[in-house]
């Protein structure tokens, strides 16, 4: 019995705890310390207190990237979960194709962001398939340089993000649907409640736990988005797709700018944003679960 052998218990945990302390906890603490120094390229540095943090407040690039990141996250979280929920409901109502459908819509989730970016960069190109399709449908006026226009580039990337993960959101909501008490669904359908009323009055409240999970996960994921803008637009055009993660990457590894400590400072800002946003959202949604 492991509970009566504390030394054995410690030995079981030792490899994981050691690796986690060295490669996660220690770098996290080092990152906080680094953000209070003036380190240029990772070499010895002097303590400068909160100077880097003060600089953040006056850095228009960082403030802009913060706005881009939050706008992107809000749009992705709402759209991705709405599409996912609609898909989940449609599949739940059709037991015969449920299995096949839920596997098919997960295919984009298997793709790496790099691969998805390759495919969509080409689809969204000025002479790519999407513009060609619009022309073929007689909608030539809608053709657009999707990734080359600062007013559409970020939303084009959001579409790719939603394409990749709507099936994932659907899988979460479908799991929620499968947990609903069957009698309740039957009872409400016998009552003759219309589809929309049944959804708002019965399903939506009961799906609260799935909503909490789906919203929280997509929020964390979209606040941390990096590879899609990195590969698709590299932050452009005109900085319109420069997320916080892009700024951090360029500061730390962009070469020659000597922004090592400052990049670490922006990373701490990102950490705070993720923890606060995810924490508050999750707390609110959990409270909602209890109310229902």
């Amino acid at each position: 019995m492991i509970t009566r052998r504390p030394l054995v218990a410690v030995a079981f945990m030792a490899p994981a705890v050691a690796l986690y302390l060295i490669l996660v906890v220690y770098p996290l603490v080092q990152g906080l310390i680094l953000s209070t120094t003036d380190s240029k390229i990772g070499n010895a540095a002097d303590f400068v207190g909160l100077k880097n943090y003060a600089a953040l407040a006056n850095d228009s690039d960082v403030i802009r990237a913060l706005g881009v990141t939050i706008a992107y996250a809000v749009v992705v979280v709402i759209a991705q979960n709405a599409v996912g929920l609609a898909l989940a409901r449609a599949l739940f109502m059709r037991p015969r194709i449920r299995q096949l459908g839920s596997t098919l819509i997960l295919l984009p989730t298997l793709m790496s962001a790099v691969m998805a970016a390759f495919v969509w960069n080409s689809l969204l190109a000025p002479d790519g398939a999407i513009n060609a399709l619009l022309k073929a449908l007689g909608l030539g006026t809608l053709t657009h340089v999707w990734l080359g226009d600062p007013s559409t580039a970020l939303w084009a990337i959001a579409v790719v993000n939603i394409w990749m993960f709507a099936g994932y959101s659907a899988a979460i909501f479908l799991a929620g649907y499968m947990n609903l008490p069957a009698e309740l669904i039957d009872a409400s359908s016998v009552d003759g409640a219309s589809g929309w009323r049944r959804f708002t009055a019965v399903e939506w409240p009961l799906l609260a736990p799935a909503t909490t999970v789906g919203v929280t996960l997509s929020l964390i994921g979209s606040l941390k988005v990096f590879e899609l803008p990195f590969v698709m637009t590299n932050g452009g055009p005109a900085g319109s797709t420069t997320t916080l993660t892009m700024v951090i990457y360029v500061k730390i590894f962009g070469g020659g700018h000597g922004g090592f400590a400052y990049g670490a400072t922006i990373a701490v800002l990102l950490l705070v944003i993720v923890v606060v946003f995810a924490g508050v959202t999750q707390a609110l949604l959990r409270r909602r679960e209890e109310r229902i």
Partner: protein
């Protein structure tokens, strides 16, 4: 519907009304969305097999002639054989390490109900919200000083540490569902904790391990950042890093990018075709059980 309608007729009637036109619209919309999700795949495959000159002339055209030249050319441009080898070593190494040390640590964490064990568990779980960007600069310095930049060991250890929160979460919840009588019986038979773990418990972990492995495979295989930052040696670069090197010079050429994308996702599709039932659970279990 009025109150005079006979009660017995209501269910059948309301069902017919509801399942009629509305449901048909639902079918059409569902079909359209699934097509929208699936179309880029089909288009990628078809375009990969068309001669580049045909694609330039008519990107949406029906294929008149097919070729595998694009695929062989992408294959050599992204050093696929070498990338596949590096990606596989990184993946298998971090999978084994994460599964073994994650399950070992989760066992006492699931069984010991003291407050320190709860705290260790919480600290592990908290790691799953930390963005890698907070760790990446100090990690880079740490691996550099340890001589682990440009090595399989550096990448494997990094992935293992980053994925331990997920592994410990999966295994701890699973161990809590295993009845403790099993261990008590093994103890009465004279089996020590180590023997009990490897002989009695570890085989029971097979389903949760398959689910976890699916999740980890996606996370590690598809990752770009860790190998991009920690590996410069061309012989250690992964499929994703090699594919990323196409960006810039050929960014918009579908006859190169599409086959490269297919080559990148092919190993996953092939292995998951055999493990289909684990995909959904692998992707959602961590999410839904929290």
């Amino acid at each position: 519907m009025t109150n005079t309608t006979p009660n017995t007729a209501r269910p059948a009637r309301s069902r017919r009304v509801r399942r009629g036109p509305l449901s048909l619209i639902g079918d059409v919309v569902l079909g359209l969305v699934v097509v929208l999700i699936f179309a880029p795949f089909a288009y990628t495959i078809v375009t990969s097999l068309r001669p580049p000159s045909d694609v330039v002339k008519d990107p949406l055209g029906w294929p008149t002639s097919l070729t595998i030249d694009n695929i062989t050319s992408a294959y050599s441009k992204i050093n696929y054989t070498q990338g596949l080898l590096s990606s596989t070593i990184d993946l298998v190494g971090s999978l084994i390490l994460t599964i073994v040390i994650g399950s070992l640590a989760a066992y006492p964490l699931a069984r010991i109900s003291r407050s320190w064990a709860t705290w260790v568990y919480r600290i592990f779980i908290a790691g799953s919200t930390v963005p890698i960007f907070v760790l990446i600069a100090p990690l880079y310095l740490l691996l550099r000083d340890a001589g682990l930049l440009n090595s399989y060991a550096g990448v494997i250890l990094t992935y293992t540490a980053l994925n331990l929160p997920v592994a410990i979460f999966f295994y701890t919840s699973f161990f809590r569902q295993i009845p403790i009588e099993l261990e008590e019986a093994a103890a009465i038979d004279g089996s020590g904790p180590i023997r009990t773990f490897f002989v009695v418990l570890f085989p029971l972990l097979r389903p949760v391990t398959a689910t976890l492995a699916t999740f980890l495979t996606l996370a590690v295989w598809n990752d770009l950042l860790v190998p991009l930052v920690f590996v410069q040696d061309p012989s250690l670069k992964t499929v994703m890093v090699n594919a990323y090197s196409l960006v810039g010079s050929y960014t918009l050429d579908p006859s190169l990018l599409f086959p490269a994308a297919l080559l990148g996702v092919a190993p996953l599709l092939i292995s998951f075709a055999f493990l289909q039932r684990y995909i959904v659970s692998g992707l959602t279990m961590g999410a839904v059980k929290s």
